[in-house]
C-alpha cells in the first residue's frame, strides 16, 4: 500500500472515531411508472422537442425513407456494424454509407480525421427516459463506439418504441455499466453566456430522433 493511501485511510478512520451509524437510506422516490405507453411517449417527445431535437415517428416500412430525407441528397455518413441494414437507404452516387468496426485498434475503424469529415452518423439506442428526455447509448453493436456519435455534426438516432420508459430508475435497470454509457438529452448546448441556452457547441449540433413504432 502506498504511504499516501495508508495515511489517508488512517485519517478517515481517525476522523470517524465517533463511529456515526446513519440509517439505511429511505428510497420513497418513484421507481415504476404509472402512466400508459402513449402518455410516456408523448412526454418523451415533448422533452426532446423542448431540447430542440427533431422528432419523427416512423415504422419499419417508412424509416429508410425518413433517414434518407434527414441525411439529405448528398452525404457521407457512418453507421456501427450492428445497425439494421433495412433501416438504411440505398447508397447513391452522392450518398455514401461507411461502416465503423467499433474498435479503433483494429481495422475497419474510421480515424478521427475521417470521422470529422463525415456529415452524419446513424445509430440505434438502448433505452430512453421520457421524464428527462434522455436517450441512453450503451456501446451495443447497433450504437457503436463513443467517437462515432460525437465527432460528426449530425446524429440521427433511432429509438425503438419498446425502449421508451418514463423514469430514470426504470432506464437504469436496462443499462449495463460495464461498457461506456453516453446519455444524450438533446443536441450539444451551453448556457455559459448569460445563462442563455444555445444549442450546438462541440458535440453534434443537430439531433434527429426517430421513434420506431
Amino acid at each position: 500500500m502506498s504511504d499516501a493511501k495508508a495515511e489517508i485511510l488512517g485519517r478517515i478512520r481517525s476522523s470517524l472515531s465517533d463511529h456515526p451509524q446513519p440509517a439505511e437510506p429511505i428510497r420513497n422516490y418513484r421507481k415504476v411508472s404509472d402512466k400508459s405507453q402513449a402518455e410516456v411517449l408523448e412526454m418523451l417527445i415533448d422533452r426532446l422537442v423542448d431540447y430542440k431535437a427533431n422528432v419523427f415517428e416512423e415504422t419499419e416500412e417508412t424509416i429508410a425513407q425518413r433517414i434518407a430525407e434527414q441525411l439529405g441528397k448528398s452525404s457521407r455518413y457512418v453507421v456501427p456494424t450492428g445497425l439494421k441494414n433495412e433501416w438504411l437507404p440505398e447508397d447513391t452516387a452522392a450518398r455514401t454509407r461507411m461502416v465503423d468496426s467499433g474498435n479503433d485498434q483494429k481495422s475497419g475503424a474510421l480515424s478521427l480525421r475521417e470521422l470529422d469529415a463525415v456529415d452524419a452518423v446513424v445509430t440505434s439506442s438502448t433505452v430512453s427516459c421520457a421524464e428527462t428526455g434522455t436517450i441512453f447509448l450503451t456501446s451495443q453493436e447497433d450504437e457503436g463506439r463513443r467517437a462515432i456519435t460525437l465527432v460528426p455534426d449530425h446524429h440521427i438516432c433511432v429509438v425503438p418504441l419498446d425502449t421508451v420508459v418514463e423514469l430514470i430508475p426504470e432506464s437504469m435497470r436496462r443499462v449495463d455499466f460495464n461498457k461506456p454509457v453516453t446519455m444524450i438529452s438533446g443536441p450539444s448546448a451551453t448556457s455559459d453566456i448569460e445563462l442563455i441556452r444555445v444549442e450546438g457547441v462541440h458535440g453534434p449540433r443537430t439531433l434527429d430522433v426517430i421513434i420506431l413504432k
Binding site: 485511510l9 481517525s14 420513497n28 467517437a147 453534434p204
Partner: protein, 539 residues
C-alpha cells in the same frame, strides 16, 4: 500542510485555492461598487433561480429524492474508507490506475509525472473543481505544460486577462456577452473580426478554436461528478460535448477525484442523476452524461488514471456538525439563491468554492484559522435560502453558526489576544440578558437616549463597529419606557402560580388543523388586493 491539534483526532488541512485572501467584508465592499458585475450577477442568478424552481417543482417526489440523496451521503461518509478501497479494487480490475494524494500539491505532482511520461507539452481539460482547488493549471504552466480549458465558460475565464472563475457551474457568470465578444475578438486567432455578441456566434467561435485540439491532443485531465464503488464506474455530467471529447478522443485520461465523491452503488447513482441537473442548470437533464468503467479496448483512452485527493477533506470529516459539507455535489443551487452571493459575487469568497457552500467548505478544508477563512462563516444573513435549495439537504446555516462558534472559541483560546469591540459588546449583552432585574434597571436609562436622537427623533451616525449599521440606515428613537417597566407599573399584582387544569394545546391544534387553509381562503376573498407593480421581472 498545516496541522491542527484539537484534542483527538489530529486533523490535516489542505493547501491550494481554498482560502479567503482578504477579509470577506473588505473584498465584498470593493466588488459591490462594480455596477456591471452586480447587474450581470443579478440577472443571471434570478434567471437560474426561476428555472430551478420550475423543474424541481414539477417532480412529485423531489423531497423524496432529497431525502434519499442526503441519507446516501451520510452512509458514504460513515464508511468512506471501505468504499474508497472497493472503488480502487474495481477500477484497477478494469485496467485503471489509482493514485492517492494527501493534499493538492501531491495531486499536482502525480499529474505532472503522468503527463511528462506521455511526452507531451499540451493537454486538454474538462472543467473540474478539484483541479481548480489544487491549482493544477498554474502548476503545469510552471513546469512547461500548457493546459487548455475546453468548457466555454472556463475558456472565457482563461482567455480573459487575469480573470478567475466566480461560480462553480457558470464560471464566467460575472461576464456579459459584450465583454465575452471583446475577449474572443482579441484572443482567438483567425476569428471573424466582426464577431457579434450573439451567444450562438460566440459558441461557434469556441467550436472553431477547439476542434483541432480535440482531434490531436493525446492527454486529457478531468474531474468527476461521481465514482461508483461497486463497479469502479466514473461519471461526468456536462452540456457542451467538450467533456465527451476529452473523455473519448485522447489516449490518456487523468481524473482528479476528491475522496468524498464516492457513491456505493449504481442504484445510488440514479438518485443523484435526478438531483444534480435540476439543481444546477435548472434543466430536466444536462445534454450529455458519460460513464466509463475502466478501459474499454478500442473505445476511448486506453491509459486511465484517477487521483484520489484528500486535501483537507478528512479534516472536515472529523467535525461531527461540519462534515455534512462533504455531501456537496457541486450543483451551485445554494449560490444561485444566496442574497449575499448575488451581490458580492463569487470572487469575494477568495477560494475556488464561493457562495454559502464555500463559506462552510473553505474554512473546513483549509482551516478556519488560516488566512482570512475565519471571515467566511459570517458572510451570511442566515436567511436559510441555501438550505431549502440544497438537493442533499446540507444544513448550511447550522454549519455556518457552528463554525462561528469554532472561530470565537479559537480566538478566545489565544490567551494574549486583546478583546475586540465585538467581544465587549457580547460580554455586556450577556450580563444584561442573564437577568430580568438587570434589564429592568438598565431600561430605566432609556429616556437618556433623547440626548443623542435630537429633534429628528432618530440616530443617523454611530461610532465604531456598529457604525456599519448607520452607513445605510437610521435607528429610531428608543421609547421613554420599556415594555417590562410599563407592565410592572400597570399590573403590579400578577400571580405566578394558579390552581386548575391546563389546556391541552395539542388537542386544540388538531381540532384547528383546517384553520390555516381557512385563513388563507378568507384572505383571498376579503382582501382588496392591489395588483403587483409591473416590472420587467414580474411574470
Amino acid at each position: 500542510m498545516s496541522v491542527t491539534q484539537l484534542g483527538m483526532p489530529q486533523v490535516r488541512h489542505g493547501v491550494g485555492n481554498i482560502f479567503e485572501t482578504e477579509p470577506f467584508p473588505k473584498y465584498a465592499e470593493r466588488e459591490l461598487k462594480n455596477e456591471q458585475l452586480r447587474a450581470n450577477l443579478g440577472f443571471a442568478t434570478h434567471k437560474i433561480r426561476d428555472k430551478r424552481a420550475a423543474v424541481t417543482g414539477e417532480l412529485p417526489d423531489w423531497q423524496d429524492l432529497r431525502t434519499a440523496g442526503s441519507m446516501i451521503k451520510q452512509k458514504v461518509m460513515a464508511n468512506l474508507d471501505t468504499y474508497l478501497e472497493e472503488f480502487e479494487r474495481n477500477f484497477t480490475a478494469r485496467g485503471g490506475h489509482v493514485h492517492w494524494a494527501r493534499d493538492a500539491h501531491e495531486a499536482n505532482e502525480i499529474a505532472l509525472k503522468l503527463i511528462q511520461a506521455e511526452g507531451v507539452d499540451e493537454i486538454i481539460k474538462i472543467k473540474s473543481m478539484a483541479t481548480a482547488e489544487s491549482g493544477l493549471n498554474e502548476y503545469l504552466e510552471e513546469n512547461g505544460i500548457n493546459a487548455i480549458e475546453t468548457d466555454l465558460a472556463e475558456e472565457i475565464v482563461q482567455l480573459g486577462d487575469n480573470d478567475r472563475p466566480s461560480h462553480i457551474l457558470v464560471p464566467a457568470i460575472h461576464r456579459n456577452r459584450t465583454e465575452i465578444r471583446d475577449i474572443f475578438r482579441k484572443k482567438i486567432e483567425g476569428v471573424d473580426p466582426n464577431l457579434s455578441d450573439d451567444p450562438a456566434e460566440l459558441a461557434e467561435a469556441s467550436r472553431f478554436r477547439l476542434r483541432e485540439k480535440f482531434l490531436s491532443t493525446k492527454v486529457a485531465v478531468s474531474g468527476v461528478n461521481f465514482g461508483i464503488a461497486e463497479t469502479g464506474t466514473m461519471t461526468i455530467v456536462e452540456s457542451e460535448g467538450n467533456g465527451r471529447m476529452c473523455l473519448t478522443l485522447p489516449e490518456t485520461l487523468i481524473t482528479f477525484m476528491g475522496i468524498e465523491k464516492i457513491l456505493p452503488t449504481v442504484e445510488d447513482y440514479e438518485v443523484f442523476l435526478q438531483l444534480l441537473p435540476r439543481s444546477s442548470t435548472g434543466e430536466r437533464m444536462n445534454p450529455y452524461t458519460s460513464t466509463w468503467t475502466g478501459v474499454t479496448p478500442g473505445d476511448g483512452p486506453q491509459n486511465l488514471h484517477v487521483i484520489l485527493m484528500d486535501n483537507g477533506r478528512t479534516a472536515a470529516l472529523a467535525d461531527e456538525v461540519g462534515r455534512q459539507a462533504l455531501h456537496c455535489i457541486r450543483c451551485s443551487a445554494c449560490m444561485n439563491v444566496c442574497p449575499v452571493y448575488e451581490r458580492a459575487g463569487g470572487h469575494a469568497y477568495g477560494s475556488t468554492y464561493p457562495g454559502p457552500i464555500g463559506a462552510i467548505l473553505s474554512p473546513q478544508l483549509g482551516g478556519i484559522e488560516n488566512e482570512f477563512n475565519s471571515t467566511l462563516p459570517y458572510a451570511s444573513s442566515l436567511c436559510g435560502a441555501c438550505y431549502d435549495a440544497c438537493p442533499v439537504k446540507i444544513n448550511i446555516p447550522e454549519v455556518l453558526v457552528h463554525l462561528r462558534g469554532k472561530d470565537i472559541d479559537a480566538k478566545k483560546a489565544k490567551k494574549k489576544q486583546i478583546p475586540t469591540q465585538m467581544d465587549g459588546l457580547m460580554f455586556g449583552a450577556k450580563k444584561l440578558f442573564s437577568s430580568g432585574k438587570l434589564m429592568a434597571l438598565a431600561e430605566k436609562g432609556l429616556p437618556m437616549s433623547k440626548l443623542v436622537t435630537g429633534k429628528d427623533h432618530k440616530i443617523s451616525k454611530l461610532p465604531g463597529l456598529v457604525g456599519g449599521w448607520t452607513d445605510y440606515r437610521d435607528i429610531p428613537e428608543p421609547p421613554a419606557q420599556s415594555f417590562r417597566n410599563w407592565y410592572k407599573k400597570e399590573r403590579p399584582s400578577e400571580t405566578k402560580r394558579v390552581a386548575g387544569e391546563r389546556v391541552d394545546i395539542d388537542a386544540l391544534i388538531a381540532q384547528n388543523k383546517n384553520k390555516v387553509a381557512e385563513a388563507h381562503a378568507a384572505a383571498e376573498v376579503a382582501a382588496t388586493d392591489k395588483p403587483a407593480p409591473k416590472t420587467e421581472e414580474t411574470k
